[in-house]
Symmetry: C2
Amino acid sequence: MASTTAHKLAKGQKEISVSEFFEKNRQILGFDSLVKSLIMGVKEAVDNALDACEEARILPDLIVQIDRIDQREYRVTVEDNGPGIVSTSMPNVFGRLLYGSRFHAVRQSRGQQGIGISATIMYGQITTGKAATVRSKVYGAEAAKEIDIIIDTKKNRPILLREDFIPWNEVPHGTRVSFYMNGRYVNGKQSVPEYLRQTAIVNPHASITLIDPDGKEYYFKRATEQMPPPTKEIKPHPDGIELGTLMNMIKATKERSLVKFLQKDFNRISERVAKEICAAANMPETTRPSTFTLETSKQLLEGMGKVKIMAPQVDCLSPIGDQLIRKGLKHVLDNVRPEFYAPPVTRDPKVHSGNPFLIEVGIVYGGDLPKDSPVQIYRFANRVPLLYQQGACVITKAIENTDWRRYGLEQRGGSGIPFGPAIILVHVASTKIPFTSEAKEAISSIPIIQEEIELALKACGRNLRTHLNKRERRAKTRSKFEIVQVILPLMAEKTARIVGKPVPDLKGTITKIMNIVWIDDSVTFEKGRHNVKVTVYNYTPKRQRFNLHTVLPEGCLDEVTCKPHPAEVRADGKISWELPYIPSTDTYEITFSLDGLDADEFDETNLYISGINPIDVMGADPLPGDWDVAGVDFTEVEAPAQAAEEEEEPDYDEEGEELEDE
Amino acid sequence: MASTTAHKLAKGQKEISVSEFFEKNRQILGFDSLVKSLIMGVKEAVDNALDACEEARILPDLIVQIDRIDQREYRVTVEDNGPGIVSTSMPNVFGRLLYGSRFHAVRQSRGQQGIGISATIMYGQITTGKAATVRSKVYGAEAAKEIDIIIDTKKNRPILLREDFIPWNEVPHGTRVSFYMNGRYVNGKQSVPEYLRQTAIVNPHASITLIDPDGKEYYFKRATEQMPPPTKEIKPHPDGIELGTLMNMIKATKERSLVKFLQKDFNRISERVAKEICAAANMPETTRPSTFTLETSKQLLEGMGKVKIMAPQVDCLSPIGDQLIRKGLKHVLDNVRPEFYAPPVTRDPKVHSGNPFLIEVGIVYGGDLPKDSPVQIYRFANRVPLLYQQGACVITKAIENTDWRRYGLEQRGGSGIPFGPAIILVHVASTKIPFTSEAKEAISSIPIIQEEIELALKACGRNLRTHLNKRERRAKTRSKFEIVQVILPLMAEKTARIVGKPVPDLKGTITKIMNIVWIDDSVTFEKGRHNVKVTVYNYTPKRQRFNLHTVLPEGCLDEVTCKPHPAEVRADGKISWELPYIPSTDTYEITFSLDGLDADEFDETNLYISGINPIDVMGADPLPGDWDVAGVDFTEVEAPAQAAEEEEEPDYDEEGEELEDE
């Protein structure tokens, strides 16, 4: 019995082709519901088009058209102005899974697996039985090549049903791919227009047109003519390299000595560092890579672990940038008029398994955002919006793992998705995004990535809290103010009438009760200028003098006009004033205006004070310790207590391993 | 520029081998953190061992041993008493991804992808540089074959470093696989012992021994000698078949006529149904499959959609069963002594994309389970516990999408994971589980699967609510009782003393105030018998008579002793008593005892009443309408209002498409 089973099983064993595997597991590719399938189809074609344009340094012009064929069947057409695809490559690019140009490169791009577009064409073929049509023209070609293509799923190879040369004179170069698929077109939170809208947010250099099945046109206008800087291909960074990977690299290297191999085949290993590693591994610099064994490879890996290696350059990555994140968010949120955009945070690059990555976070708060629902989460990976599988994503886990009660959001038990009128945007940029599946919907919970996201969230959360604290303190003091200023004169008047004496001057009394320096600021925007007015009220019984500081946004320092003239203006935008003595109950005013910013690029002034006890001041924070105010006669004040509390690391143990997954 | 890019890109394009793909994307296989990698490694080997034993109808005896090699490196060894693997198959089974015997079969099994164990061996090789060792002996063989194996990831082919024949006399047949990998051994909620404990819950026929890195032994004892019934391989069911799949089947069939093709190549298509389909598609029964085109295939698919086809047989599936779910849960929860195990719910099989599946749900409530945290979710797919990616799983989505406030759990806004002292267990059994990735950690959100889980959750939720309602009503009445019975006599005594009269008999007065028939029941277990005592108190001013009903658990009907003798005992365990008139303020007692159940198989009696207004009764529910009580003189009462309300379907639109993913 047992024996027959063994032989029966042996007989049944056979190879499974990768396309056959995905044909039966198309949910792994994201084709698990009709709505989602249509979005996936558009996404794969758009990702490819944007990648191709950027690689050729062409500002992308994309046209996406969706035609309804019948109740379940649609035709998706995506046309780009990219460099085109040489005709011999077309069959494999579109008709073969696990085939592509970006898989082996250490460089940020959207497509990395060599699966997406051919999987889409396969799904279309499975559900409709129809071939896809691809047309492409390279620069200088007289005509475009056009093919009708299907996939032989048993063999994972393309079958061409037709190939032609077609004149395509109106287009100098570009690609148009067109396929039929079962799907369902909807509007709403998870839809093709929403996908393209979010794509436009993080790709402001692209122009995207959508023609929906009813012929309605959406036009996502290009917001900037500037391409993102090109991403450079680099060698693997030594951080987190696995033994097996190292052994493969040793086997594959063309270098003849260990010291050269380290220098040439890795990112960020200079000659000096390479020599240090050889010394740390206790191996001669001239060791020939061909002589390495399992044991000596281990020895080398340990040596590499002992030497400090510089973080990777940022130029293999393409972050969106603070300004564009802010702009992008404002772009989305014109209807809900949020109260506050917390200054976005961009972290320095780190490395996971040899791949550099960096995290960007932005938070929006208040206004018409819903108060009693979970915060909205916008997730992006290499400038691609992630609409599905929020629950599976390291971004969500990092948000859930952060105690948002500290930053002014409601959160039961201090974990889970917080509630409140907020949107949290997180962008992960990496030379290799570790997706949880081929559908590229969620990022895997790699400990170092989660840690970096949490640090970025906390930093941005602090920006949010600073704002909320300020708002709350002001509101409290303002109401105290109002009470004192309304009730006291009324009481004085009534008492004076009763005792038949004149009403006394209460200014001094109010001052004594308030005993505070009150700083108020307002920002207005007029004729392309931001006008800021800062008013200092001395509601203390003594005269006061102190120093006032602020930071101007990047790039507008040349265009600032201040009154009075500041004591110091620094190249990084830091400005300081030495105020004169302000008599008790008197006020003092500072104004400045900024040129050259968009209306929505500046909406709140952060004011800092020094040379006075911050407890006596309302409306400005104590000057942080890192201002290092040499050159001006400031009395340093202590950084606020919160700063220390926030420096703590997330809950990882010594090995950088997450303690709990869910 | 654009042209050079096209040519440069073309030059970079190449094939990616599937092993190379997973080498760079090992997080897709679940190898994304050290803790998880070790669990994954154990899981893949254990899944294979259980599948092999079940295929050969052998009660599984598994030994799992984990040795710590150094701080990061472990050796995992899994030995089974399965049928063994014939020696020529061994290299491909363990050294080649996408190779296996279970991929093409429509039958429930754990392994279905042909990826797991070879991916594990690859991960081990990448992280430690070491080969895996596999030893296997088939029934009747004189010696075992033993190989040391690594994978050529560029080619996705096995490389044997050693092959030997080894005497393995103590073992008649079986397989032992042993590999080195980087990992981290922990205890706790997500750990190897927890994985094996949950495996034991849903595989009570298996015996599993774990020897942990410190030499500590865990023994998960076999709970039943009975194998789960063998799962039968079936043809694809016609429901949800895609056009492309149909066309592939038409192309591959050996049948020469349409009517035979339908009958032979599909599950549940009889000759009659096949003829109906031909008629519905308006095609001759003799149509040769070889003549089909895209258009006629579509026509056939439409015809198939018009004919009602029987649901699939359950025998291709292996549900755990109500009794074993209950047993399994009790097995886990001996420490927390829950108050209530809601009767588990098993749904009838349904079909997704031609694959039969069914859902089982159990809920545990109260006791020492934590009151102020989210409920615990136990997820299983084909008898395999799912420990990771809870947020990505359709089981979680179905739970979040259910309004648990109706069933007595706390849930903000009626969606999301509910809070309360409860555990929800969900098992999805299918001939093909649509996992979200090759790591097999979460099930994809296929609309019909989500719908079925939600229906099962609601049914089990109703069982929970019935219990909670009963408990609450009893508690309320009991406290009213206590007040009336304590206060009234005290008042009477005091008043009597003041007015100098004797204390009156209050029995009648209390009765008037309560005006209720109170039914109390208790279950005790002694010497292998469950003793149930039901006491009826007539706290109304009139004499009362009515009928009392209950349902005994399966299989103990022969062993029941009732006092008094019931009016009717039915084969399905339904028992009814006609009670005599019970005078006002009097009581009446019914007892019965059950033999042959385990102590924990019976802990609450569900009592029903008829022939009396249910408003006047506390402690029993009105008899549900579906009892259909012919033969006994019962006055039918209306089914409770809740039943109608619960019949509603989940929020799907007419196409069965989910409206919102997250």
